[in-house]
């Protein structure tokens, strides 16, 4: 029982999920099915074909060419136990930053190591990646615990991150073998033509603290498998998990002079690496401002023209129309805006709600935000852990203070006593840096000027009475922000979702789900405009950018005639 408008959605979903026409109840209702047929024992078919499942198991999701990373069910004691135990064992040691001179010395070693590494057969490099993936998967609890300690990630986030790193290794190994092998090209007789791909030289990989393992690993193994040697600079806040991963790669056989872990500050080590004359390519994930700085440094050099792969931030919007189911929208918004304390480049920053449903939807969102739990990352019950450091917390507090003046406050997760999370992170007694999720309403899309990298959600209404009258003008206004990373769409109007996706200048569009957690090889990740250069990480076009190309044309008739023609061959 219940009001039709409240329960039909629920009923129909259940019906569509369960209502195969072959089901017993449907057949019971169908007079054409005889009682004998209807009551035939289901056990008979089971005994003959016990393996009826048409769906592959999770590990086989991507076919025989690539194994999916194993998952962890945190609600299952047998799965969660090893993770919690690992936390008592791992230690995040202090790390000394390198100097610019030390970075330069490393570049010399990597430059010298390039020829040997690049000469390794492709299959061998790919095999190293696969071995690394297996080792990493086996050590998942340890890496999860490291991520909790060093990066203040919640357990669920750490599992997703280690799995992503495993997937990157396997995916790029597979892609390399499929795409980077020599290709014979057509041409006239008496001539052979071959297209060959090889590494460019020393690739500088600079990664952020928000995915200190997955993004770090993705950049490094892509550059390596393509034949480059790699100068890997982790974020200042998270060098240790990167160090462990580099050590793992060295253990499985990547030579020391093919991969170097170079911790340090961006202004010193990062700047030195980018400006180094031996740098043959830069792969960077981080802020748009730093990407510009790198681009200018590279442009100013007199040496080779160096490619830059940059994946930066976004002003990511979610468009909600009145056909969407409010409960599903609220789930997606809470996950997209506040998971990982909003510290994802894909995170939702701007929720665009149709005016006809804005009031009840905002009320439900406020109620859901009130139920989130702030706390230490190590606590399984924590939804929102502290942000990465004091500087980030202060920046967010400044932005929030400004919004309290300029925008309409909507909702906020209740704060908890700071002492509850003290002692976590870099050392005992470290300040907590908890930033409670908060939402503000702004009048128009253009009021959102800059990326706010934390749990701060902006809400704007659209519809006939608003600045964005319809979906078309709304999408145009979102495009005009100049970023283009992720976009969420919540609608039951299929053609509308399609048209929004067509009009949006955005790298990753998600319809009727959350808009974070892109999966390697499934949702290749990366945007356009101020959000990055592409190609997408975890996608089929990524590795090419790490390669130099060479054609090899041989005049096979130079010594007189084409022997193959004479022998009746080609």
């Amino acid at each position: 029982m219940g009001e039709h408008r409240d329960l039909l959605a629920y009923l129909v979903r259940r019906l569509l999920e369960n209502g195969a026409n072959s089901s017993f109840v449907h057949q019971l209702a169908d007079d054409a099915v005889s009682p004998d047929l209807l009551l035939a024992s289901p056990l008979v078919s089971l005994m003959h074909a016990p393996e009826v499942g048409a769906l592959p198991l999770p590990v086989d999701l991507y076919g025989s060419a690539r194994r999916n990373a194993s998952g962890v069910d945190l609600a299952c004691a047998a799965h969660a136990g090893p993770l919690l135990q690992a936390l008592t064992r791992v230690q995040v040691e202090p790390v000394t930053d390198l100097t610019a001179a030390e970075a330069g010395a490393a570049m010399a070693r990597l430059d010298a190591g390039f020829v040997d590494w690049c000469a390794r057969p492709l299959a061998e490099r790919a095999a190293l990646l696969r071995t690394a993936a297996d080792r990493l998967e086996a050590r998942l609890p340890e890496f999860c615990a490291l991520l909790v300690q060093e990066a203040r990630k919640t357990w669920g986030d750490t599992v997703a991150e280690v799995r992503e790193a495993v997937d990157f290794c396997r995916y790029y190994a597979q892609q390399a073998e499929e795409r980077l092998a020599d290709q014979t090209l057509p041409g006239p007789t008496g001539e052979s033509n071959l297209l060959r791909l090889h590494g460019r030289g020393v690739f500088v990989c600079i990664s952020p603290w928000n995915f200190p393992l997955a993004i770090f690993a993705g950049q490094v193994v892509a550059a390596l498998v393509a034949g480059n040697t790699v100068a890997a600079k982790p974020a200042e806040q998270t060098p240790v998990v990167a160090r462990r991963f580099v050590a793992l790669l060295h253990e499985v056989g990547v030579p020391a002079d093919a991969l170097a872990w170079l911790p340090g500050r961006g202004e010193t080590v990062g700047a030195a690496l980018v400006a180094d004359a031996r740098t043959a390519g830069v792969c960077f994930t981080g802020s748009t401002a730093v990407a510009r700085l790198i681009q200018r440094t590279l442009a100013a050099g007199d040496g080779p023209i160096v490619p830059l792969i940059a994946e930066t931030g976004g002003l990511n919007a979610m468009i909600v129309d009145p056909t969407a189911l409010p409960e599903q929208v609220v789930d997606a918004v809470v996950q997209s805006a506040f998971r990982s304390a909003g510290q994802r480049c894909s995170a939702l920053r701007l929720l665009c709600v149709h005016e006809g449903i804005a009031e009840p939807l905002i009320a439900m969102l406020a109620g859901a935000m009130a139920e989130l739990r702030l706390g230490p990352a190590a606590d399984l019950a924590t939804d929102v852990a502290p942000v990465i450091d004091a500087e980030a917390a202060a920046g967010l507090q400044r932005h929030i203070a400004r919004l309290r003046q300029e925008a309409r406050w909507l909702a906020e997760t209740p704060a908890v006593a700071e002492r509850a999370v003290e002692g976590e992170g870099a050392g005992a007694g470290a300040p907590a840096h908890l930033v409670p999720p908060v939402a503000f309403e702004i009048a128009r899309v253009a009021d959102l000027k800059e990326e706010v990298f934390g749990p701060v959600l902006h809400v704007v209404r659209w519809g006939p009475g608003q600045a964005a009258r319809d979906v078309e003008s709304l999408v145009a206004q979102i495009n005009a922000l100049g970023y283009g990373l992720t976009l969420g769409v919540q609608t039951r109007i299929d053609s509308r979702a399609q048209r929004i996706a067509d009009a949006a200048r955005v790298g990753n569009v998600y319809v009727n789900r959350n808009m974070i957690g892109a999966v390697v090889g499934v949702q290749p990740f990366g945007g356009e405009g101020r959000s990055g250069t592409g190609p997408k990480a975890g996608g089929p076009h990524y590795l090419y950018r790490f390669c130099a190309e060479q054609t090899l044309t041989i005049n096979t008739a130079a010594a007189g005639g084409n022997a193959e023609l004479l022998s009746g061959g080609a």
Binding site: M1, H4, L8, L11, L74, A381
Partner: protein, 403 residues
């Protein structure tokens, strides 16, 4: 983290099915099943329940067809749309791709099928091609089509739902009972799970009100002969999840307790609905706590039950665990296989949640009752459990999925 009550959940399905099959070997007399069930099938077909209309409509427009899917998807969304523009866009989008003209004649629920069909055929004339704003004339036509579609969906809703309020539902139940006095209902408040504290409070109030209305200030002679209620834990607490275990016991448990008290005092059935499998251990912990309280405070009450998802690889282990819980607290586990005259709440997963079920049908979920004192007597516990296992195993493959 609490120790697990159930086996490891990630096991190959084939192994689990083979084990269940082996356990059944020699225990199942299928010809007897057919002999018993054939008259039931005839009876159901000769006197279809009113809610059967949905099945008929689905036969006309199967979900696997574009038309059936369009109709279902409209039913899912249209009623919540507040503005005409969006309603028109949604209707055009969904109906635009379906062909409803070819519906066969002589459908048993002609009226409903025809109403849908005519709404849908009209849509071809009046609805805009896509979600672009239509012209004025077209807009007038479009509003008519949308109104007709809304009407069709409301009719459909009426087939599905006993009543919009508990009073309406009980009146409808009584009118249905006139022809069939043995009919029993288990009322279910339908809807999404709670996302907020306010949602949870609303559901608690609604369950409380419904229980009071069903009880009517009287005490039933036996839960088996009275209407009952089924409650969804995820509707009573927005964070019903393993990671929030402490809050579940601190905040959700007291709410369930008040409902259990009401049901026990009125001597009614109260069935706890099944939840997603990653909350199964949590549910069993909660049920264990409640069982202890019931044994202490309402030793005479036999109406406490829970729904079990029978298709799960852990289904039989759940039933064993429930029997063990009941035994530990000195409750009887009157599990499964109901006799004809005392029917526990058994649900048809294909229809999701709705009203009562008299037939011990091929269900994906099965209510297991733990109550006291023993109907079978405590010494018969293993037999009751074995019976439940057999019954559940027989339905392992019946499919279905709980919310």
């Amino acid at each position: 983290m609490n120790p697990a009550r159930l086996p490891f959940p990630y096991r190959p399905e084939a192994t689990a099915v083979a084990e269940s099959l082996a356990a059944l070997h020699g225990h199942l007399d299928w010809p007897a099943v057919i002999r018993t069930a054939t008259p039931w099938v005839r009876a159901v077909r000769e006197q279809p329940a009113p809610f059967w209309a949905m099945e008929s409509l689905l036969r006309e427009y199967p979900i696997s067809s574009a038309e059936g899917l369009a109709l279902m998807r409209l039913a899912e969304a249209l009623l919540r749309v507040p503005d005409a523009e969006t309603a028109i866009a949604l209707t055009a989008d969904q109906l635009g791709r379906a062909d409803f003209d070819s519906a066969s004649e002589g459908s048993p629920h002609k009226m409903l099928a025809q109403l849908s069909a005519s709404a849908i055929s009209l849509s071809k004339k009046f609805l805009p091609e896509s979600d672009n704003p239509p012209g004025l004339l077209q807009r007038l036509g479009a509003r008519t089509v949308v109104a007709a579609t809304v009407r069709a969906i409301q009719l459909l809703g009426r087939q599905f739902v006993l009543g919009r309020t508990i009073a309406e539902a009980m009146a409808e139940a009584d009118s249905q009972r006139k022809g069939q006095p043995a009919l029993r209902f288990s009322y279910d408040m339908l809807g999404e799970g709670a996302r907020t504290e306010r949602d949870a409070e609303r559901y608690l109030a609604s369950y409380t009100h419904a229980l009071q209305a069903i009880a009517g200030g009287r005490q039933a002679a036996s839960p088996m002969t009275a209407d009952g209620i089924s409650i969804k834990l995820s509707a009573l607490f927005s964070r019903y999840e393993d990671a929030q275990r402490e809050r579940v016991f601190a905040e959700l448990l007291p709410r369930v307790r008040t409902l259990v008290e009401l049901a026990a005092q009125a001597n009614l059935n109260l069935t706890i609905d099944a939840e997603e499998s990653d909350r199964l251990e949590l549910s069993l912990d909660l049920i264990n706590t409640l069982a202890g309280e019931i044994a202490a405070r309402f030793p005479q009450w036999q109406g406490f039950g829970l729904a079990v998802q029978a298709y799960q690889t852990r289904a039989l282990a759940v039933i064993d665990e429930v029997a063990a819980v009941a035994q530990r607290h000195g409750l009887r586990s009157g599990a499964a296989r109901p006799r004809r005259r005392d029917l526990p709440a058994v649900r048809h997963p294909q229809r999701g949640h709705y009203r009562s079920h008299r037939a011990d049908g091929p269900c994906g979920r099965r209510a297991v009752r733990a109550a006291t004192p023993a109907r079978y007597g405590r010494r018969h516990l293993p037999r009751a459990a074995a019976r439940a296992r057999r019954a559940a195993a027989a339905h392992l493959r019946a499919g279905g999925r709980a919310p």
